[in-house]
């Protein structure tokens, strides 16, 4: 019996050792494993592309780091960082005080307003009164979830929480919910698709709440990796100064995504 166990253990270790490569110098850049256009989405060949993926590659190039894009499920992305499955998060994660209790952030690399969309047939504002009695969908562990609970928790009839932004959009199109709150750019992208065009339109931006929505989106890092943080901060400044940032952004947006 013990022999059998030993053999099994040896086989297991061999398997792990054989297939797991100890690449100490390649940094794993975690992105959310879901289509989140225009920031990151897989194309038909399975390759991830989008504004944020390119920015991540540009940052790595600027900081002379070897990086590998690693899709990981959004709801486990912070544990994945703290347990060292990945080394940084470049997944449109807003810098918030709540998250900073667990992880560190680089300086922001973009900042966009937060909007609410709803069915075309209805008119309402992105205010607590406007959402009265409505079902509002948000993505889990996002600033939008926190914001929606804080500001619309009393007036909306339900705040429905989705694992991915894509599912929330799909349910809005299906008519299962009345409104979706998310990043305005991601929402506009959805509204421009065939499905989005037919069903919904933008109801407006929500009122600013810096405490919840944070100063913008930053690269998520482990607290102890302060050296990496300095490198990334320098790289953000670097690509801003060299024009690389604008070059990438121009392909996707016709306004300044970096924000004020």
């Amino acid at each position: 019996m013990l022999k059998g166990l030993k053999i099994a253990a040896a086989a297991l270790l061999l398997g792990v050792a054989g297939m797991a490569t100890a690449q100490a110098d390649t940094l794993k850049v975690g992105i959310a494993a879901e289509p989140y256009p225009p920031f990151a989405s897989p194309d038909a060949s399975g390759k991830w592309d989008g504004w944020e993926v390119r920015i991540a590659n540009a940052l790595c190039g600027e900081a002379k780091l070897e990086c590998e894009i690693t899709p990981i499920s959004w709801d486990g992305i912070i544990p994945a960082l703290t347990t060292k499955k990945i080394d940084m998060i470049v997944a449109s994660m807003s810098i918030t005080a709540e998250r900073q209790k667990t992880i560190a952030f680089s300086d922001k690399y973009y900042n966009t307003p937060t909007g609410i969309i709803g069915p075309k047939s209805e008119t309402f504002d992105a205010t607590p009164e406007g959402l009265k009695g409505k079902i509002l969908g948000v993505q889990v562990s996002t600033v939008h979830e926190v914001y929606a609970k804080k500001h619309f928790g009393d007036s909306a009839s339900e705040i429905k929480i989705y694992q991915t932004q894509d599912e929330a959009n799909a349910d809005l199109a299906a008519g299962r919910i009345d409104a979706v709150q998310a990043d305005a750019i991601a929402l506009n992208d959805f509204l421009a698709t065939d499905q989005g065009k037919e069903c919904c339109d933008m109801k407006g931006d929500v009122a600013e709440d810096l405490e919840v929505l944070g100063p913008g989106v930053g690269v998520g890092l482990r607290k102890e990796d302060s050296e990496l943080k300095d490198k990334i901060n320098a790289a953000i400044k670097g690509i801003r100064a060299s024009g690389k940032y604008d070059e990438i952004s121009k392909e996707y947006f016709d306004f300044d995504i970096f924000g004020g």
């Binding site: 297939m19 797991a20 100890a22 897989p42 060949s45 959004w74 992208d189 065939d194």
Partner: protein, 271 residues
């Protein structure tokens, strides 16, 4: 604001030319749209689905193999181990069979790799980077092991005692007895249960979608999300899983006939 998702727009053009809202849905389902979406080369997502399927099969094979190894050890522990070993094996099979796979996968996926690396660091080795494939195999293999333990234990018990006594009387060593008598004799009893486990393994790979591993189900959802053709892709993936099951069933039938050669046939009945 320019959009860079090339494919949905293309689909939209095709759909709009046929007008009428109902056909916007029916087109991707019934007409050329479906074939285009599912074609194996890049404008279509078929290649992606097939790669996902390959990943799923790889994990299923690995998990099934690992499950067999754990199951053999577990069955021996339960049958011939000391009291402590026997109780530990019992706890293992009870807990694993009572807790949902989804919960075990999350626990093992996050805790498992973390613990391995902490242990390695404590022992002074460099941390290793356990890729998703290995993690998936280990996690599902651990779950499969509990079921395989029960299947193999039942099969070993079904081997007539006289055969083992005869082997012992010939003076065979335990290893030789396992190789020459117990394993071949128990195989016909174990195969139906193991076949079932293999089918469970292929389907359980879908659960790894929840931890973001690129197997068939997650790839399907990504494709569906990016193209909004949810129905098409989920049906297509369902067909792939079904094909895998049916294909497995034919192979299993052959193996079963081979393993049962020389034994009286049993009539199919209540399990």
């Amino acid at each position: 604001m320019p959009i860079r998702l090339s494919f949905p727009c293309r689909l939209a053009d095709g759909a709009r030319s046929r007008a009428a809202p109902i056909s916007t849905f029916l087109t991707p389902l019934l007409q050329s749209g479906t074939l285009e979406l599912l074609s194996p080369t890049p404008p279509g997502w078929g290649g992606n689905l097939l790669r996902g399927l390959a990943n799923s099969v790889q994990i299923a094979i690995g998990a099934f193999g690992l499950g067999l190894a754990i199951g053999t050890a577990g069955a021996y522990a339960k049958l011939y181990g000391g009291p402590i070993l026997r109780d530990l094996a019992e706890i293992y099979t009870t807990v694993v069979r009572a807790v949902p796979e989804l919960v075990l996968i999350l626990l093992l996926y996050y805790a498992g790799t973390d613990l391995v690396n902490r242990a390695l660091e404590a022992m002074g080795y460099a941390r290793i980077d356990i890729n998703g494939l290995v993690a998936g195999i280990v996690v599902l293999g651990f779950v499969q092991g509990a079921y395989a333990t029960e299947v193999l234990r039942g099969a070993i018990l079904a081997v007539p005692q006289g055969q083992i006594e005869a082997a012992r009387a010939y003076g065979m060593s335990p290893g030789k007895m396992l190789r020459r008598i117990t394993l071949p004799a128990m195989l016909p009893y174990a195969i139906p249960g193991l076949a079932n486990l293999w089918l469970i393994a292929t389907k359980d790979t879908a659960l790894l979608a929840v931890v973001g591993f690129n197997e068939l189900t997650l790839v399907t959802r990504q494709a569906a999300g990016a193209t909004k053709a949810y129905f098409t892709f989920f049906v297509a993936a369902g067909m792939l899983y079904l094909l895998l099951t049916l294909f497995s069933n034919t192979i299993i039938g052959r193996i079963e006939r081979w393993a049962r050669r020389g034994l009286p046939s049993v009539t199919e009945g209540a399990a």
